[in-house]
Amino acid sequence: MNDSATARSAPRYILEGNADTWGDRRKLIGLVRRLTFRHLAARYRGSALGFLWSMLNPLMMMLVYTVVFQYVLRFKTTEIPYPAFFLTGILAWNFIHVASMNAAVSIIDSQPLIHQVYFPRVALPLAAVLSNAANYLVSLPILVLFNLMFGIVPGTTVLLLPLALLHLLALALALGLIFACVTPFFRDLIQLLELGFIAWFFATPVLYPISFPAANLSAPAFVLYRLNPAAGTISLLRATFLGEPVAPGTLVYSTVVTLILLVLAVGLFRRLAPRFSSVT
């Protein structure tokens, strides 16, 4: 290797003056919009059937777990009817899972684009997460209707909704960005991540209320449990829709962890994005 370079400046790419009149930010927004609509169009293909299909999975899981927990194991969870309790959690969990895993394959799936054209790479995982967020939003009216069937009328806690949604989105985005920028380098990470999600599912209060680990774990173990960012997000959503009380400590822990993850994710993505075009 020829190493005779004397004057070695750091690499710079300068777009001067009014060179790029459209601007990178505007370009990013336009691109994310286009990609998000593409994902949604692919999912719905001109009919509402696609949406019903995506509701089928959580409803099916709710049925199975209700039968197992209520009739086989004779679990007493909370005052809240178990189907409503479970559906609120599983919808949010599925959003985190599917959005971040869609983001995880977003760079790999767009290799032809990465190799041939420049664009802000972050548009790909961003669109993957946002299209799932749209899907999640559409499922919320159904959740409220379902809860009404069990006599749960949304109270003033519904005002927490924007905060809960922001929390959920930040978490999915942070995970999505981290996954998206590491999977192009090691393909088997996708399988490992899926395994991780199985373990994480049981470490998150989806099947059971957070009062269970609160009662059964030792104090230090419960602190550790609450570092799970999804624990706070889902507790917050249950507070919003079901009026279940949520401990401020749980919220603080998970918010701090989510924000740290988000900062890490953005930093990692910026660092690795220039290398996407040299892996094949």
Binding site: A5, R34, L35, F186, P274
Partner: protein, 258 residues
């Protein structure tokens, strides 16, 4: 290097280090095994570009010639920001649109029309602008019913028609073309040549990489001969291409084949 007032693109002392992988670990388990067995990394590094400088003026058409692996395509990839340089400065005073190798950045499962919309967004057009330009783009591509078929069903020529149609309607100040002029039938080639001529009059700067030397001689204002990541010579197309051809034939003067 102080830029001339009509300079639209400059590369100043640009270096690019590539890794030539013998066995790249694509899986975490492979990478871990390599680490545990303390195997040396399975790649060697080399400089694809060495202290490379170049300056382009507005409205100029410049061609690159050189052997395979000389660094021609690497230069285009750095200019189009697909890859970052290792050292050095690249300054662009305008929008860059690139038509690199085959494919030109299409997703195989999308139709021609969907790829047009996606590429327009990638190149920075707003939704309204993309909608306005769709009809002329579709007309230029002249693909008939194939415009609504997934591009994986396209032939090489059809890929290029689609790529050209997009690149010709996004008003880029700098256009990069890598080995794309030789594909397509005679009629479409003529169409592209006419279009390139019009772009030149409009002040678009065009950078062409081609092994079709007569094409370079015919269409370029200047030809740059690149070997082993350095500029060997540049200037009058006929003269440079002539020297390059003689260098290719005379043994011992050929360099940088890989």
């Amino acid at each position: 290097m102080a830029g001339a007032p009509d300079e639209v693109l400059s590369l100043d002392g640009v270096w690019k280090r590539h890794r030539r992988w013998k066995k790249r670990p694509h899986y975490l388990k492979e990478a871990l095994i390599q680490r545990i067995l303390r195997q040396k990394p399975h790649y060697e590094e080399f400089w694809a570009l060495q202290d490379f400088s170049l300056s382009l003026r507005r409205g100029e058409t410049v061609g690159f010639c050189g052997s395979n692996g000389a660094g021609k395509s690497t230069v285009l990839k750095l200019i189009s920001r697909i890859m970052p340089a290792t050292h050095g400065t690249i300054t662009a005073r305008g929008r860059v649109a690139a038509l690199l190798e085959l494919g030109a950045g299409f997703l195989p499962d999308l139709t021609g029309r969907e790829n047009m919309l996606l590429n327009s967004a990638i190149l920075g057009l707003t939704n309204a602008e993309s909608r306005d330009r769709m009809p002329p783009m579709v007309e230029f591509a002249d693909l008939g019913d194939f415009i609504d078929s997934p591009v994986r069903t396209y032939s090489t020529g059809m890929y290029m028609r689609l790529g050209f149609a997009i690149a010709s309607h996004v008003d880029a100040e700098i256009l990069l073309l890598d080995e794309v002029l030789s594909v397509g039938d005679a009629a479409f080639q003529k169409k592209c040549e006419d279009w390139l001529q019009r772009l030149r009059w409009d002040g678009t700067t065009v950078l062409v990489v081609s092994h079709a030397l007569p094409t370079l001689k015919k269409m370029c204002d200047r030809v740059v001969w690149i070997e082993k990541g350095r500029v060997v010579a540049q200037g009058n197309p006929a003269e440079i291409v002539g020297r390059y051809e003689r260098g290719q034939i005379e043994p011992g003067r050929t360099t940088g084949s890989s």
